[in-house]
Symmetry: C2
Subunit: 107 residues, 2 copies
């Protein structure tokens, strides 16, 4: 039962990744930093309010950072931290499983 001593961390990770759109937001930032509007276009069914909430949460957790470039007009981009980038292997494995095992239209 030793492994269950790790469960609080593990649960936190699942609660994070289990929130609707979070995995997808992180996945699309793995390609590189993106503006708010670019993310909105990539995930069109997610509302701007939800994206703003997710960004705030991911920033609070140290998974993304918000970079403000003092240009005219000001440019704001979101990018993954090392902690965020480190999620790639987990996201890859979940995607692999989903592709192999989840049927969208059961026969």
């Amino acid at each position: 039962m030793i492994k269950f001593s790790l469960c609080p961390r593990y649960e936190i990770a699942f609660e994070l990744l289990g929130k609707k759109w979070t995995g997808l937001i992180i996945r699309s930032l793995l390609d590189g930093p993106k503006r708010f509007s670019a993310l909105s276009e990539i995930i069109p069914h997610m509302s701007a309010k939800v994206l703003a909430d997710r960004f705030k949460e991911l920033e609070r957790l140290g998974i993304i950072v918000r970079n403000v470039y003092p240009e005219t007009p000001v440019r704001i981009e979101y990018c993954l931290t090392e902690k965020g980038k480190a999620l790639q292997p987990a996201l890859d494995e979940i995607q692999k499983w989903a592709e192999n095992w989840i049927t969208l239209d059961p026969p």
Copy 2:
């Protein structure tokens, strides 16, 4: 943007794994089939009602099966299907990430 064509499957996987206790239930069944009471002991903070709900959902999704052995008294065990066992690499990667990056007591 090709990868986002996969998003419905991916979201289903995240919603499944994001439910409190689900990851832990699957993880403990990776060791082998278990009875209801054994799972309850392994995850003591989870109520029996929640465990029953999770088992029902996981059975519906084809991730676990419920084996009934006609002994006296009857023995019922839950075990992972191939679809359930296939989650091991994803769970391993999430656990690795959580161990490396989640701090329970921030300094």
